[in-house]
């Protein structure tokens, strides 16, 4: 087995060892959101014709967790290894910067998909969620977790301390994922916020993902797909440039 696969495997073992925190906790959190919001708002809000509010909420909550966990996996693993210094054990091996990127992003994808699938499975017990296109659902989950995996690498390289990392998470990832149309359609927002949402890349991840379930969305699926692909290309390239330069990893 090639070195890159072992690095990928190590990343999987790492989060599995604390699976309660890395997989179970986000599933439970999402279900709490689902129960509370659907209880309060069910019957009062209709976003799409023929779709109950609870059904509408499920894909958004799943995608929000995919986003947050995709980011959390690469960023927390990498910053811990960097700050404690054990990253040298990877840096002194023949593993290339490209393989390094692949291993961390792939682990982010696995964790994102595991959490997402977990939420979906439990949600299916509570609500009937239609599936319009499984391909679209899987594609957007893959894209979102990969994009956030790459972003996690960038954040972990940039941050010198844990509190800087926490700031990145609390002031960028959290607000952007909450304000991306998880709980509403952007058409229900005042026009200023509608316009603003269109600059939030997470909005397109959620909108496209939701299309996979209901076959309807706020913007055309081709638009959200293109924007996600562009985001992935740009962030991956940036991550690779940073990794290649050795910035903050090799003195």
């Amino acid at each position: 087995m090639a070195g890159v696969l072992w690095l990928f495997w190590k990343e999987l073992v790492r989060f599995s060892k604390v699976a309660f925190q890395t997989v179970m906790a986000p599933i439970i959190t999402s279900l709490l959101f689902l129960v509370v919001f659907s209880h309060v708002l069910e019957g009062r809000v209709t976003v799409y014709e023929g779709v109950s509010y609870t059904e509408f909420l499920v894909p958004g909550l799943i995608m929000m967790s995919v986003i947050q966990n995709g980011f959390a996996n690469s960023s927390s693993s990498l910053i811990q290894s960097k700050i404690t210094g054990n990253l040298v054990f990877v840096l002194i091996t023949p593993i290339s910067y490209f393989e390094f990127f692949v291993a961390y992003v792939a682990a982010s994808i696995v964790r994102g998909l595991m959490v997402g699938a977990g939420i979906l499975l439990v949600a299916l017990i509570l609500v009937d969620v239609p599936v319009h296109s499984l391909t679209v659902i899987v594609t957007f989950a893959l894209l979102a977790s990969a994009i956030l995996g790459a972003l996690g690498i960038i954040a972990a390289i940039w941050a010198d301390r844990y509190d800087q990392m926490a700031a990145f998470q609390n002031f960028i990832i959290m607000p952007l994922s909450f304000l991306s149309g998880v709980f509403y359609s952007i058409h229900s927002l005042p026009s200023f916020w509608q316009t603003l949402s269109q600059f939030n890349p997470f909005f397109y991840m959620i909108d496209g993902f939701r299309y996979g379930f209901f076959g309807v969305s706020d913007v055309p699926i081709t638009t959200s797909l293109s924007i996600c692909l562009i985001a992935l290309t740009l962030l991956s390239s940036l991550t690779l440039v940073i990794l290649k330069s050795g910035y903050k990893l090799r003195a």
Binding site: M1, A2, G3, L5, W6, L7, W9, K10, V13, R14, K17, V18, S81, T84, G85, N86, V88, F89, V90, L91, I92, T93, P94, I95, S96, G246, R250, A251
Partner: protein, 308 residues
């Protein structure tokens, strides 16, 4: 290729801001050598080692391991190099055996490496700690895991950055014999240490760095033979005023009981006799006589002071 070069360092420079951590370092290490890298704190030893391992990117110059350039042929170079870092670093998520298994995996090693991992665990006296989390190990045990990680891919060149720092006497002896065994198995060993008796005991050839510069590079014997290498101390009850003038400048100290005379000697065997002849001719009676050999520490202190 038995007598090829294990490590080549060609005119390497590295600056960290205003600090010239490596200032034109240039030397080679033969395969099979036991090489010591000495120098005071901040001399640049770790920087040089990290440059070999690819952890430090040099500003100019070339480094290679077993003939492979560490930058352009990094995969070949790194798979032939094992590094024991100076800091006690570990991943708190994993147990000892896992740590070694993953490390071997990063070098692309499959099942075939597993017997070697068990052997290493035995060798490093870690067999009963194989399922213990890294966090729960003592400092000395963590150090041994670090050594295991460096050896897990059986690299021909092993670099140990202060492997015996903060290690008790017993473990130090064990590490010494392990490192000696690696050396006799054909590994090239590069060792940094602040314990000069350790370098004296183990190394064939020694480089001394000071402020990023190479201030000495020689075999241990030649290094020890440098400069003043022996001192002869003679105690006499002779009153100071009766000493012949020729010996006046040899007086080191005067106590109530005796006068101590010291003579700096060269390496030649005859010089002790010459001094004794002088003493006898002067009619000085001797109550005690002692010869002191300079050790590596004296040479080290001289060399790193000269450079100031």
């Amino acid at each position: 290729m038995k007598n090829g070069l294990a490590v080549t360092i060609e005119n390497v420079h590295k600056r960290f801001g205003a600090v010239h951590a490596l200032n034109g370092i240039d030397f080679t290490i033969q395969q099979g050598e036991f090489f010591g890298l000495l120098g005071p704190n901040g001399a640049g030893k770790s920087t040089l080692i990290n440059a070999l391992a690819g952890l430090v990117v040099t500003d100019s110059g070339h480094l290679s391991v077993m003939g492979f350039d560490v930058r352009t042929q990094y995969r070949d170079a790194r798979s032939r190099l094992g590094v024991v870092p100076q800091e006690l670093v570990y991943d708190p998520f994993f147990e000892v055996r896992e740590t070694l298994r993953f490390q071997a995996g990063y070098f692309g090693l499959g099942r075939e490496v597993e017997p070697w991992i068990e052997e290493l665990l035995d060798e490093l006296d870690l067999a009963d700690k194989a399922e213990t989390n890294m966090r729960s190990l003592s400092g000395g045990m963590k150090r041994r895991v670090l050594i295991g990680q460096a050896l897990v891919h059986k690299p021909p060149v092993v670099v140990l950055d202060e492997p015996t720092a903060g290690v008790d006497v017993e473990l130090r002896r064990q590490l010494w014999s392990l490192i000696k065994r690696l050396h006799s198995d054909g590994h090239t060993i590069v060792l940094t240490t602040h314990y000069l008796e350790e370098a004296e005991e183990l190394c064939d050839r020694i480089a001394i760095l000071n402020r990023g510069e190479l201030v000495a590079l020689d075999t241990k014997e030649d290094l020890l033979a440098r400069g003043i290498s022996r001192t002869l101390h003679i105690h006499t009850r002779e009153p100071a005023r009766t000493l012949p003038p020729s010996l006046a400048d040899k007086v080191k100290c005067i106590t109530d009981d005796y006068i101590e005379l010291t003579f700096n000697l060269g390496r030649e065997e005859s010089s002790v006799m010459q001094v004794l002849d002088t003493i006898r001719d002067a009619g000085v009676n001797v109550i005690d006589i002692r010869v002191e050999e300079d050790d590596l520490e004296d040479v080290f202190v001289q060399l790193t002071r000269e450079a100031d």
